[in-house]
C-alpha cells in the first residue's frame, strides 16, 4: 500500500480557494468538514507512536458529540462517538466496539495521557474515478495552537489500497495546480518508545516432546529479536540488525521444519509474517554490507581512483539512511506490532502446543534428527548437481538449503553429540562462507552499478570509472568463490560427515553414540 503523501500548502488563501483550483482538474466530493478542538492521546510509554498509529479526541465547536479516531498514517482504523464528553483516560472509557477492543489490547491496560491540543478545521474530500469510486482521499488540515499561533495548512493525499497508480496521477495533477511544498512534518510527531516483549528462556532437555522443544527454541529466538529491536530501530550498530536477521531466519527454519509439530494454521500464518519481516530488513542489511566492505574494496584500488570515489561514499551513506528509514517505518507498523503480539500470545498459549500435530508428542531428538537427515540429503543431492555451468541461482538456492541444515543443527545443538556436531558444522560453515561470498559479491556488484546511476546524472566520470574498478574486484572475488565451491563441497560431501550424521544422537545410558 502506498504511503500517505503530506504537503504544506504554500498557496495563499483558504480551503475554498484551493478547492476551486483543484476541482478544475480532479473529480472531488466533499466527505466531511469539521471545526474541532482536538487532542492526541498516547500511553506514557508511547505505545501508539511506536506502532505508527495516532489516537485523536475531537470535540466539535458548536453542536455535536465528541469523537475518538484511531488511525494509522492517515487511514482511519476506527472512528466512533464518545459517550462522555471528557477525554478518555482508562481503557474502560473507550467506546465499546471490536476495533476499540483491539486498541485496548494494544495498550494493555495502560492509562492514556493527554498530548498536544489544537483547534482545527479539517476537510476530507474523495477523489473519484469514472465509476464514482473513491481512489484517494484529500485531507486538508488547518490548525492553530490554543494560544492562537497558526500552523501551516497541511494537505494529506491518502491513496486507497489497490489504487496506487490512480493516486499517483492525481498527486501529479495537484502538484501542478497548487503551490505545495513536499514532506511537511505530521501534526503530531511520533514518539519513540521501547516496549519489550516477554519471552521464556528455559533450556532444552532430551526428554522433551518435539512441540515443547520447538517452543523453547522459538522463545529463545524471540528474545534475541526483542533484545536487538531497539538497536535495529536506532540503526547505530549494524550488528544489531545482523543479530535480528539471524534470529528471524532461524525462526523461519524452525517454522519450515515444524510440519506435524506446530499447529498447521499458525505455522502457515507465521511463516508468511516472518518472511515479510525478513524481507523488510534485507535492503538495510545489504546497504550495511556495502558500507562496511567498501573501504576494503577501495583500498585495493590505485590511489588516484580512491580519491575519485569519495563522492560515491556519500551516495552509499544516503542510500543506507533511506533504507533504514523505510525499514523503521515497517518495523513500527501496526502490522508488525499485531503480528508480534499474536506471536507472543501463540508462544505462551499452552493449548496451541498440545496435540497440535502428529509428531508433537514424539521425543524431540527423533523428530529433529529426521529433519536434519532430510536437509543433509537434499543439500548433498543438489550440491552434487552443481557444475561450472550451473546458473548463479542454483548456488543461491543451495545456500538457503545449507542455512536450513546449519540452523537446525545449531538450534538444537546442545542435545546432539558435540563431537559429531562439530564434524558436520566445520565443513558446512566453510561451504556456507564460500556460497555467501559468491552471493554477496553478485548482489553488491549489481547494487553498486545501480547506485552509480546517481553519479551518472552529475557527470562525475572519474567516480564512475573507479566504481567500474570496484565492481571488477567484486567479480574477481565472486569467481574465486565459485572456483572454490567444488573443493569445499567435496569436504562436506564426505564419509566423515556422513558417519558423524549417524552419531548425532547420544544414547541415554552411556553417553556413547548410537548406531
Amino acid at each position: 500500500m502506498s504511503k500517505v503523501r503530506r504537503y504544506e500548502v504554500t498557496a495563499a488563501g483558504d480551503f475554498a480557494s484551493v478547492l476551486a483550483v483543484l476541482t478544475d482538474h480532479v473529480g472531488l466530493q466533499l466527505v466531511s468538514l469539521e471545526e474541532v478542538e482536538r487532542s492526541w492521546l498516547d500511553t506514557a510509554a508511547g505505545t501508539l507512536a511506536q506502532t505508527d498509529t495516532t489516537l485523536e479526541f475531537r470535540t466539535p465547536k458548536g453542536e455535536g458529540t465528541a469523537s475518538l479516531t484511531w488511525a494509522t498514517d492517515g487511514r482511519i482504523l476506527v472512528h466512533d462517538s464518545c459517550v462522555a464528553a471528557s477525554v478518555p483516560v482508562q481503557v474502560g472509557d473507550l467506546p465499546e466496539s471490536a476495533a476499540f477492543a483491539r486498541l485496548a489490547r494494544l495498550i494493555d491496560g495502560e492509562s492514556l495521557v493527554l498530548g498536544p491540543t489544537v483547534n482545527s478545521q479539517i476537510a476530507v474530500l474523495a477523489c473519484l474515478d469514472d465509476e464514482d469510486k473513491t481512489t484517494a482521499r484529500f485531507v486538508f488540515d488547518r490548525s492553530e495552537t490554543l494560544e492562537g499561533i497558526a500552523l501551516p495548512m497541511l494537505l494529506e493525499i491518502i491513496p486507497l489500497r489497490g489504487y496506487d497508480s490512480e493516486a499517483a496521477a492525481i498527486e501529479k495533477l495537484v502538484r501542478r495546480s497548487v503551490a505545495l511544498s513536499e514532506s511537511a512534518t505530521p501534526m503530531k510527531a511520533l514518539v519513540k518508545n521501547a516496549t519489550g516483549t516477554r519471552a521464556n528462556s528455559s533450556g532444552l532437555s532430551s526428554e522433551m516432546s518435539a512441540a515443547s522443544a520447538w517452543r523453547v527454541v522459538l522463545q529463545q529466538l524471540t528474545k534475541s529479536i526483542t533484545d536487538s529491536f531497539s538497536g535495529v530501530l536506532s540503526g547505530n550498530d549494524p550488528e544489531d540488525l545482523h543479530a535480528f536477521r539471524v534470529a528471524v531466519r532461524r525462526i523461519r527454519t524452525l517454522l519450515q521444519d515444524g510440519g506435524d509439530v506446530i499447529d498447521p494454521e499458525s505455522r502457515d500464518r507465521f511463516r508468511h509474517e516472518y518472511r515479510w519481516l525478513g524481507d523488510v530488513t534485507t535492503p538495510t542489511r545489504d546497504a550495511d554490507v556495502h558500507l562496511l566492505e567498501f573501504p576494503e574494496l577501495v583500498a585495493s584500488l590505485p590511489q588516484s581512483w580512491r580519491d575519485d570515489l569519495a563522492p560515491f561514499n556519500e551516495v552509499l551513506i544516503r542510500h543506507r539512511n533511506e533504507c533504514q528509514a523505510s525499514m523503521v517505518t515497517e518495523l513500527r507498523s501496526i502490522r508488525r506490532a499485531e503480528f508480534g503480539s499474536a506471536w507472543i500470545e501463540f508462544l505462551s498459549d499452552e493449548d496451541a502446543w498440545t496435540g497440535c500435530g502428529e509428531l508433537s508428542d514424539e521425543p524431540v531428538l527423533r523428530v529433529v534428527i529426521r529433519r536434519v537427515e532430510k536437509a543433509h540429503r537434499e543439500l548433498v543431492k543438489n550440491g552434487g548437481k552443481i557444475t561450472k555451468k550451473s546458473p548463479a541461482i542454483s548456488l543461491h538456492e543451495l545456500r538457503k538449503e545449507g542455512k536450513r541444515l546449519r540452523y537446525l543443527l545449531e538450534c538444537f545443538g546442545p542435545r546432539f553429540d558435540q563431537e559429531a556436531l562439530a564434524t558436520i558444522l566445520r565443513p558446512l560453515r566453510d561451504l556456507q562462507d564460500v556460497l555467501g561470498e559468491f552471493q554477496d559479491t553478485e548482489v553488491q556488484g549489481e547494487a553498486l552499478f545501480e547506485l552509480a546511476g546517481e553519479l551518472a546524472t552529475t557527470d562525475d566520470h572519474p567516480a564512475l570509472v573507479a566504481i567500474g574498478g570496484v565492481v571488477e574486484q567484486l567479480g574477481v572475488r565472486g569467481s574465486t568463490a565459485r572456483n572454490e565451491f567444488s573443493k569445499v563441497f567435496g569436504r562436506f560431501d564426505d564419509r566423515k560427515v556422513q558417519r558423524a550424521m549417524n552419531r548425532l544422537e547420544v544414547t541415554k545410558s552411556s553417553g556413547k553414540k548410537k548406531r
Binding site: 482511519i76 482504523l77 476506527v78 489497490g162 508468511h272
Partner: protein
C-alpha cells in the same frame, strides 16, 4: 479471522446482498472486513463500484503465484476491502481442478491476509462444485439465504444432506440458514417459514424482507446501510449480524 461464505445452490436468493450488507455492518462496528467476490457475475464488485478487473488474474491467486493481498481494493468504507471478480472467474473450477490440493487453495490464499482482517466474506456463485467444496473447507460458517418457497426448501435440504454425508470435507463448518426476500403478506411464505423452522430449528431467527430498498442497491451501488440507514431492511441486516456473531 472468521471466514463466512454466503452460499446457496440456488441463484437469485440474495447471497450477494447478504455478503455486501453484512460486511458493511461488520466494518461499521470497527471490524476489519474483506469481501472476496468469487462469482463471475461480479455483483459484489459492482455494488462497491470497483472495476471488474483482477490484478494478476484470479487464476494466479488460486495457483498461489500472486498473493491475495495484491489483488485487494479498498472500498469507499473504512475497514472494508474487496477482492474483485471478473468474468474469468467462470473458470474457477478448472483452475482449482488443475491445482495440487484444490480443496485447500482458497483457505491457503486467505491465510496470507488473515492477520489483516477480523472477518472475511466469500460471495459464492450458485451451484455445488469444486469451488463450493473449497469454500466449505475454507469457511467457518456458511450463511445460507433461503426464500420461503418449495424450491428453496428443496435446495436447503440438499445442502444439509451434502454436509451430513461429507463430514471430512466440511469439518467444523457451521450452517447458518436464514430466510431471505420474505414477503409477510404472502400466506405461502408464512407457511413455508413455519414448516422449515420446525424441520430445522437451527435456522437463524433474523429474516431479510423482500424490499425495494434492497433492490435499489444496484442503483446506488452501495450497501443499504450507506444510503438507507435506519430503514427496515438495513435494520434487518444489523439484527441478522448480531445473531450471527452469537452463533460463531
Amino acid at each position: 479471522m472468521k471466514v463466512l461464505a454466503t452460499y446457496n445452490i440456488k441463484g437469485g436468493v440474495g447471497k450477494t446482498a447478504t455478503a455486501v450488507n453484512l460486511a458493511h455492518v461488520a466494518a461499521a462496528e470497527g471490524n476489519r472486513v474483506l469481501v472476496w467476490d468469487l462469482d463471475p457475475q461480479g455483483a459484489a464488485t459492482f455494488y462497491f463500484r470497483v472495476k471488474p478487473k483482477v490484478k494478476g488474474g484470479g487464476k494466479a491467486i488460486v495457483r498461489g503465484s500472486i498473493e491475495l493481498g495484491d489483488a485487494i481494493k479498498a472500498t469507499d468504507f473504512d475497514n472494508l476491502d474487496l477482492v474483485p471478480a471478473d468474468f474469468s472467474y467462470r473458470h474457477l473450477d478448472l483452475w482449482l481442478d488443475d491445482a495440487k490440493k484444490p480443496l485447500a487453495r482458497i483457505r491457503r490464499a486467505l491465510l496470507q491476509v488473515s492477520h489483516e482482517y477480523d472477518y472475511i466474506f466469500l460471495d459464492c456463485p450458485p451451484s455445488i462444485s469444486l469451488t463450493s467444496e473449497s469454500v466449505f473447507r475454507a469457511a467457518d460458517a456458511l450463511l445460507v439465504p433461503t426464500i420461503p418457497t418449495t424450491l428453496s426448501l428443496r435446495t436447503y435440504e440438499q445442502l444439509d444432506r451434502f454436509v451430513e454425508e461429507n463430514p471430512d470435507m466440511v469439518r467444523e463448518l457451521k450452517i447458518l440458514g436464514f430466510f431471505s426476500m420474505v414477503d409477510r403478506h404472502k400466506r405461502l411464505h408464512r407457511r413455508f417459514m413455519t414448516e422449515l423452522r420446525t424441520a430445522h430449528p437451527e435456522m437463524l431467527e433474523g429474516t431479510i424482507p423482500n424490499s425495494t430498498d434492497i433492490e435499489r442497491m444496484g442503483v446506488h451501488r452501495e450497501p443499504i446501510g450507506s444510503y438507507g440507514k435506519g430503514s427496515r431492511a438495513a435494520r434487518s441486516y444489523e439484527s441478522l449480524w448480531s445473531e450471527i456473531q452469537t452463533r460463531l
